[in-house]
Symmetry: C3
Subunit: 682 residues, 3 copies
């Protein structure tokens, strides 16, 4: 076992390659367990996530513990020089616990206690549940905390945001509200309860089921996220106590989970997430590459540090309706894409397909056939070998001059908002629409929160559809622009404050002066209505673009008009404005444009702002180039998410192909789903 | 304050222009309140609906009342010569009431008490609820009943037909059934309970959840409507007692509500309704104009008297998924359309956009920007000015020679019916399909109930798809035709009686002799099947039309065949018949035709029947002309619901354009969504 | 009354023609009852199903019985020489029973007792319910068991598989599990509860609501089917006791019911089922003829004996959304189709349309018009006459050399399975895809279960998508092939055992050696991905076919490659293999083909296997020829399910047209939906 250091913060000198390993499912099959370790070696695996969802195996009866199999597993991993990432089992409670203490099961909105079953559906407030989790976590920590191959705590595996409406939780919510609002009068004003006679006169009148009070529903979402964080903190307090030197993570999920991970990020030592794109679907399949890149960048941005891809599938999933098994090259491409964007690990769910259970047909490194000759196994071996050769990259970082704000609380508030056009708000998609243009230019972006992330190091901040401006955000924007930054704002920005109360005096609220415009009202574009804009990029280059869904009518104050609508009663009014403010600039994009606009816009902008990263100009559609670097060198990952091969000119003559260890002359060819890593020594 | 008279029946000498005004939401913003009254003047508003959903503001604790703000509001309205329409607050109960008396919340079909929240979800039978409503209504009546600008009571705002299954309500339902059926034997026969062993042997066995008994489900719908009416009557009994001279209304909703407003109409002094069309959607957007006209005509028909458009949006709504803000001219057109069809008011929800709450993004006269320069505000001012100039119209009536029956109980029964073709029954849509042809010919129609409306004054009665013939309806039809009337019947007519029991001996049941045909069976047309009819309009004009969905096979008795099917085994059998019966005529249209048939059919029919109203022949698609008149003159509203402008020939040389006050020579031009009002002195 | 014999097993010397007759609904209409018997004679009806769902009529109060009307009905049937099929009324409990004994109503998954209403929703375990059913069944048996026209018991009418979660049922389920698994350890292994901490440590922890444990959900389905069978057995034990000579049936439903009828088949004396195809829909409407044939063949296969078509509609249904009334000829065709495939009866739901109730608009022999002149009545008379002339066919059987396995437990397991492609598994449809090719070749097929049906008499067994290989099935296949049989296997075969546990070592599990291949993994084909195969049928006939959805990658062991993929990374790998094994052959079809492949494949195969039945070669699409025969002769039913007429060459010169009683010369013409029956004396 080499180089296991355990300060807070995950540190290994190698990239990690591994999987969830459910050893306990195979105790009746000793020959299979032997084979597993042989194959792990073959696949160059150096880490396994263990103990996940194994409460009933460890504690089959209340207070009766069986660690034998886990002891064996630790021994065998250690013997094979494989790190262990040890899960806490809180995500899946044993049947005896639900039976004896029904309070550990959630209560639904109708007041009905849910039956035992599934996973991750325990009440987070239940004192008994917290007590039982603390006991088993402490046992695990005491028994395995000193194992030299214990690399990391992997807490609970995929917390979700399911709600519980039991008395404990409702009571906790009311306490949370008291802390937030101090007085009922404050709460009534924040929630605008004078509408529809909703005024509360006693804290105990509040119940989180009235979706006509958006402030209430928004606070309920915040509460659930905070309460889950509180549960997480209760788990880790035991671990910190017993194993102060073992770092801690919990794996995040996106894009479907309603937890505000920016708050969780403060309490984990290393960020990890589970990445499950749906490859090979649709006629723009490379968009899945863009989307996945966006999420990788987000996870890197939480701590501006390398993260872990804690789960991914070696080929297909079994819970997405249709999941296409990875085509040739895709496994290598998707695995190294994570590395390119800042991951230091490639990990799978799972090592071996289970014989039974809900995920038995989820792809795994070893399938039911059980040998090492399958295409999937060979793909995994190929990744293992590549990672071995890339260990130099472990300390490389990514330095982005551009940030895109994707704000989860804004997502929540927008999803609750009833607008003249409530269909296709598409907040996340539109953030990714901006991102796509930059990705395709080879520009690295951080993906950040509006409130929790500092803007200091960026030249450009893009804030699409920032409907909700929480307290302090406008001030941050103003300071950023004053100091020379360039800010991009759009339609549906600055409509409400933290409590979903509309700003008076015109949108975008406190950003009006910064943008130099006021929104008079917002038109809705829907079939068969149409709208277009035209932009004069320079003297002899005027172009027209289709626009969609939303179109603000602007009153232009101090801003300069850069683009105009061309149709209907909006014709010739401002659609794009640029406002100089102290040392910086704010753009306002008043409508939702087709993709080619963003291509042209950001291409111009990065020249103006002198942002340069790509070693290749004119990257074709579906192709990007991403960089990781440290003081010793730069690594360029050139990735082709197209089914078709592409040919690229390389202008920089100092680049070395790490596969051939020779200099690249003029051009490279990337096959279908191909990746090429080039290195430049400093 | 001019001309507030308060007999039963709303009488003002002017058209009303106003909005819901939620003063109580802005008590913390005194400068906004000041601005409001300034802007009301500017917008020519002379009425405000107040106190709606303000129970918790007026009675923040049980028995503790706060009228200060409402006193102030009355003072300020009076000072500004603005009428007050005062709401009763029963639609939205305060949280303390639900908490102390859980019985006021409804119980769902599963027996679960609903949580407090939303609005209009109280139990209508609860004695406590009725008591508490009576107390607050009486307080309001005693305090404001003598205010000279109190124009009208606006009771509860938008009653709905949500069901409550609490013991009180179920008990009430059983009592209602006893009154209706006297004996269980009668009930068992009416509900045909010999089917599937459904016979009831005790009243307390009956519970309204068995949708396999259509008679039961239909009676449950009737009961809910009646019970809501009973609640309404309990509200107004207090108001009548305290303020016998203040007229009363409650605003109706269509097309989605399951309340039989014909019964409510008897108890209100003036009809009012809330009109929320979805403009600018689809490729036949003018159809929304037709549909809205149909509903306006329906509301005029309840009392054959002017009505109030109690709510409409100045631009877009926020609760329809997609609502397109009104394009230029549309606000004027849609506001005056209401006047054209008999409204004496144009009122909005709401005066000012709320800062919070479910409808904060619903358009209002004053938006969050808050000034009087927005396009919407200017549109409202334009309407205000027009209405000021149209006060002469207040006493004008509409005299229709044509009635279309749209029967709500028939809608309920049809919706419950399981037919060989249950998809696309489209009852309302088909009534509107007939209406469209007449509307486009400039013929005014009443929209009436089959049972409650007299037929005496009509030359033509159209009764599409009158599946259910309630007791007395066939007799009314027969008498109407005997006396010279022309009646239009269609497929799916006369299948069942009041209890949804099928007529024996052939459809259309008791109308067989009148129609001179019997329906043998009904074919279903569905892709890829096709059917057509041909009609010989005259010697050298035979035309063919596509038909859809339903096609009766007829046995022709005394009727004359006027059109035949042309395809499959129905070919050459009767599809359209005309039967002379005493002094009148009955047409039977055995199938569902494409629109152009109705154009040709009604064009011929109105000539034959000497029905004439339009001053313009050959109105283009999407254009109509509607008339209001009194002994002093006639007003013609020519309205273009097309996006494109149209040009129209005016044959009558005595018409004066009220905008220019000069005679119209030959032709007029209507722009996109344009309206022109012409006047003819008597 | 001729020839009523009552041994176990229905025996009549004539084909039966009749309907459900709800006499009790018309007791107030004596003239209608008189007309009914007159019309029955006219329609050549010789059987009526009576007493169905009439519990409340027979026992209006607990313990008070009224048999008067049923006595009368028996008398009148007997007087008219009409057999009676007597229903037990357990399917629809009276209201007084639910009121007094709430336990007879089911409890839903949330623990809520369901309200009284509808039908077939009683708890099957409730002791009270079983007791009350036994009492009324015994009364019926004692009173009518000796009636000489009592032909058959018709138990309960359409059992369904709705679930009850009451304590009785859950307790029963746990007992059922104890019998199945003996120990919790066995159960935990079978359900693979080491996944997600699902291990059970006490039987009473098990509750059938955790759909993440597929073994549990599958056993719950099995339990419900078994429990329903147990209820059925409790019903018939009384009948056997009281009327040992009256045969018993219960009518099966397909394709939507989750009862394993193979188990029921053992306990009924004659198979009966309710056939409700949806004719005249879609652009391949003849496929409905194929599908219906498939189900008829299945019902013949349960006992390899003639069956009863207990229900069918004379024209349209009213519960299918859209049901097209039968076009000319279709009623005769669809009725005789049942006879062609082995039915000895044509029976309708129902004789006369009810005036009320959920099915009042379902077609019946006599409709609401009520006379015998309607097209439907005439169609029924035509069928009656034909059946009279076909009585010779009563003892004819069908001898199939081909069997297609359609395995209901496999359907359940597949429906629960979460696969990389879970959309469009289409198990039943794909069985029918194979069947269609054989049907169109005029080859008769048995449709059988994998476990309960012997394979001895078949030359060819087709087992599409047999995902689950229950214990003993692989052994049956091996023996079948060893003995010279030809077996067709496909993709998605042999993945799991009885407990839904995956086979290790490669799919198709225990059939690997038999097939001579191993499945390495399975690709998912989905838009825009494409795949094709090519097959060389002989030296100069190579064809290409589109394939869909699933595509196994094979490792070919002992098999011979007969077809290959042509696209992507699968190109040139095996898609179709043939493996000789002892005296027989196993084909493996690794992907889902377009229809024309099956045409070509089975055409070749039946020649190779010397399977011949059709008297016509080159049957056009939508046309089949089916045979029934005994020692005296053969009947050929040539059926055209096309809207268009077809012309067919008849090669056999010894065939007699039973309508004209003359020999067929050269060719016959079948009109739209035409049928021709030819006879050959032995």
């Amino acid at each position: 076992m080499t180089n296991i250091s355990k300060p807070i913060g995950l540190k290994t000198s190698v990239l990690l390659h591994g999987a969830d390993y459910n050893y306990e499912q195979w105790l009746d099959y000793p020959e299979i367990l032997d084979t597993d370790f042989k194959y792990m070696k073959e696949a160059r695996c150096n880490v396994m996530s263990i103990g996940i969802f194994s409460w009933a195996e460890i504690e089959p009866q209340e207070g009766v513990f069986n660690f034998d199999w886990l002891d064996d597993l630790f021994d065998r991993l250690e013997a094979n020089n494989i790190y262990a990432i040890l899960g806490t089992p809180s995500g899946s409670k044993p049947a005896w616990l639900s039976k004896k203490y029904p309070e550990v099961c959630r209560v639904d909105e109708k007041g009905k206690r849910e039956p035992h079953g599934q996973r991750h559906n325990h009440c987070r407030t239940s004192p008994i549940y917290r007590e039982k989790v603390a006991i088993i976590n402490r046992k695990l920590a005491q028994r395995y905390g000193k194992r030299k191959n214990l690399l990391l705590w992997h807490v609970s595996n995929e917390y979700n945001a399911g709600a519980c409406y039991c008395d404990y939780c409702i009571d906790d919510f009311r306490k949370w509200l008291r802390v937030r609002y101090k007085t009922l009068d404050n709460l009534n004003k924040a929630w605008w309860t004078s509408f529809w006679s909703h005024r509360f006169t006693d804290w105990n009148q509040i119940f989180p089921s009235d979706n006509s009070i958006s402030g209430l529903m928004l606070d309920w979402k915040r509460f659930i996220s905070d309460q889950t964080l509180d549960f997480f903190k209760s788990e880790i307090s035991v671990l910190r106590e017993e194993t102060p030197n073992i770092p801690i993570t919990t794996n995040f999920m996106l894009p479907n989970v309603d937890l505000n991970y920016w708050n969780f990020a403060k309490y984990v030592d290393v960020i990890s997430w589970d990445s499950y794109p749906r490859w090979h679907i649709g006629d723009r399949e490379w968009m899945e590459g863009v989307k996945t890149a966006f999420f990788h960048d987000m996870h890197r941005s939480y701590k501006k540090a390398p993260f872990m891809m804690m789960e991914s599938t070696p080929s297909a999933t079994n819970w997405q309706g249709i999941s296409i098994p990875k085509k040739p090259n895709m496994h290598l491409l998707s695995s190294l894409q994570a590395i390119a964007h800042g991951s230091n690990t490639v990990q799978y769910f799972q090592w071996r397909q289970s014989r039974g259970g809900e995920e038995k047909f989820h792809s795994a490194v070893v399938n039911h056939l059980g040998d090492d000759k399958t295409p999937v196994f060979k793909d995994v071996v190929e990744v293992g070998k590549k990672l071995e050769n890339l260990s130099q990259i472990v300390n490389c970082r990514t330095n982005s001059q551009v940030a895109i704000i994707y704000d989860l609380e804004n997502e929540w508030a927008l999803s609750l908002a009833q607008l003249p056009r409530s269909q296709k708000k598409c907040y996340q998609d539109r953030c990714i629409a901006h991102y796509r243009a930059l990705w395709n230019l080879g520009i690295s972006c951080d993906i950040i929160d509006s409130l929790d992330s500092p803007f200091d190091n960026y030249k450009l901040v893009v804030a699409p559809m920032l409907y909700m401006l929480r307290d302090g955000v406008a001030e941050k924007f103003i300071k950023f622009v004053e100091n020379g930054g360039t800010l991009i704002l759009t339609y549906l920005t600055g409509l409400v404050n933290d409590s979903d109360l509309c700003f008076l005096g015109g949108f975008p609220g406190k950003l009006k002066e910064l943008a130099g415009i006021v929104v008079e009202d917002t038109d809705v574009i829907s079939n068969p209505l149409k709208q277009k804009i035209k932009v004069k990029w320079n003297a002899d280059d005027e172009r027209e673009y289709d626009v969609f869904h939303y179109a603000d009518r602007l009153r232009v104050k101090t801003a300069e008009i850069k683009g105009k609508y061309t149709l209907s009663n909006m014709a010739n009014t401002a659609a794009i404005t640029e406002n100089k403010f102290k040392n910086g600039v704010t753009w306002y994009l008043a409508t939702r444009m087709e993709d080619s606009f963003y291509d042209d816009f950001y291409k111009k902008l990065i020249v103006d702002l002198n942002i340069k990263q790509n070693i290749i100009s004119n990257l074709p559609q579906g192709v990007t180039c991403q960089k990781r670097s440290d003081e010793e060198g730069e690594f360029y990952f050139i990735m082709n998410f197209n089914k078709e091969s592409v040919s690229l000119n390389i202008e920089d003559k100092e680049l070395i192909d790490i596969d051939t260890d020779s200099k690249v002359i003029n051009s490279i060819q990337l096959p279908s789903y191909g990746i090429k890593i080039l290195k430049k020594a400093m």
